[in-house]
Symmetry: C2
Subunit: 301 residues, 2 copies
């Protein structure tokens, strides 16, 4: 798994920095998460092939999280894309995009599916053989979801020394990988865990933007490998969190600690700040393993 | 008059180049003309104060000419703008913008006026003591207007030597500036043009994007000081003009020549081209005074 940060600023524009957009590479997928203005240019800069993006997840309908989407869809059309595109977003986005297509008389030449979200409890919105995506209901000024991207557990690994020792027929290897007990050539039942090793631990990425501090998300993001949690403010502006329904770096770190995640990634910094290291320093007073999102950064998960 | 080129590319994104947006400085106004994605960042880069923009003119509802508008309006709101804003654009834009405001529950805290355009003949859409703005109906795939920005003629200039010679009372200076004949102190009528000089010639800027070659615009843009005319294609791709309703550099130059404008400014280059000088070279075979639009360029008119 690999996370590409295309943009990580909050709403007002800055030269050479972009609002929220990320691309998560997971099991051969390229999932685009949020799509602020300028995302298509950032995709070009980071050399991410447009055609590999087949699923787009939009957390909420504040502009700094989706104003780049209609331009990206238009560009897909101009580049004569044929690959289908799925968009998971709060109800309302379909109306915005189709209205703009109608006005420009520019319908897509590729299948475009909107999966409009309205549930206030976590739901499974995407699943295939290797990956699951769940919503993480957040507490913001408008209807907002984070997203939990989870690898499914892989197969158990064969311990070839033990297997050859036990004299197990090759026909049983598949069943062993799936965790079953199998007979040896003499008919004795061999316990699975005596001849296999656990699969590589499944990884997960929890994306939480934008939200006020909310412990309701803890069960959903529990022990995530990487947690992105917004940190719009430093502690000195904590009083702004209630009204704006945003979080501080310390609040993000508290969530990371309580959910026992492996690593915390901060972002969605208010443009009032110039030294982003202060976010890291404040978060580290609560939780050790902290990274700062930065435009153009690629994070191995 | 001064023209700031914020972006001049056509639809598909390029790194470090922007779709159409310009700011015209004319008689203390800052008129924003078209507003492609990323315009707000370009305004910042060119140090144009957001609050000085009170009038925005949108030529048509293809994305590369207006997808940056909703983000700019949102930013105005976040910066607690109070100054009123007028938007002149094809019918439909108001619905797009207000739908997005509704979904984000973010109404502006400043007066926002939409002047929706539907006329297929040229009309006067803005006027004050010093400036007029007229639409230039263009021939494109969707309803499109260019805009003609005209200074009003200034006052005649007093020829002080002649005036003192003729012994004219100071009370008549105002009338002289306005072109009237006045009496001298002996009661003889003095012809205006014997004691005044013509005003500084009024300048005009004609913005024409996007359009196929159309001589119908000639009477409107006649003798403009500066004509911006789109040149999406070079001559080798002229066959694409009919279907896309765009123009070549030579067609733009032909319009410039027939309208007897002073200077031609080319732009809206297809992203398939790398050497933009070819546009200038081709245009110059028809019309001498050719400039190339370039992001960040400032043109004195």
């Amino acid at each position: 798994m690999k996370l590409n940060i295309l943009g990580c600023n909050s709403a007002t524009p800055k030269i050479n920095s972009y609002p929220t957009a990320q691309v998560l590479e997971i099991k051969n997928h390229m999932f685009l998460i949020d799509c602020g203005e300028g995302t298509q240019v950032q995709l070009r800069k980071m050399k991410i092939k447009f055609n590999r993006i087949k699923h787009i997840f939009i957390s909420h309908l504040h502009g700094d999280h989706y104003f780049g989407l209609v331009g990206l869809i238009s560009t897909f059309r101009l580049l004569t894309r044929e690959t289908e595109l799925h968009i998971y977003a709060p109800k309302g986005l379909k109306e915005v995009i189709t209205l703009q297509m109608k006005l420009s008389q520019s319908w897509t030449n590729f299948p475009l599916y909107f999966h409009e979200l309205t549930s206030k409890t976590s739901e499974l919105i995407y699943e295939d053989e290797q990956v699951e995506v769940h919503t993480i209901p957040l507490d913001h000024r408008v209807y907002t979801n984070g997203f939990l991207f989870k690898e499914k557990p892989g197969e158990r690994k064969l311990d070839m020394n033990a297997i050859l020792n036990e004299d197990i027929d090759v026909a049983y290897y598949r069943k062993l990988k799936q965790g079953g007990d199998v007979p040896d050539n003499d008919g004795n039942l061999i316990k699975n865990d005596s001849v296999t090793k656990p699969p590589t631990p499944a990884k997960s990425y929890a994306f939480c933007s934008d939200t006020k501090y909310s412990e309701q998300i803890l069960p959903i993001i529990d022990k995530a490998t990487l947690l992105y949690h917004e940190s719009t403010f430093l502690e000195k502006h904590k009083h702004l969190c209630d009204q704006t329904k945003h979080s501080t770096a310390i609040q993000a770190a508290t969530i990371a600690k309580k959910a026992e995640v492996n690593t915390l990634l901060l972002g969605h910094y208010s443009t009032r700040y110039f030294d982003l290291n202060e976010f890291k320093e404040e978060a580290k007073t609560v939780f050790d393993n902290v990274l700062l999102a930065k435009d153009g950064k690629v994070i191995e998960i």
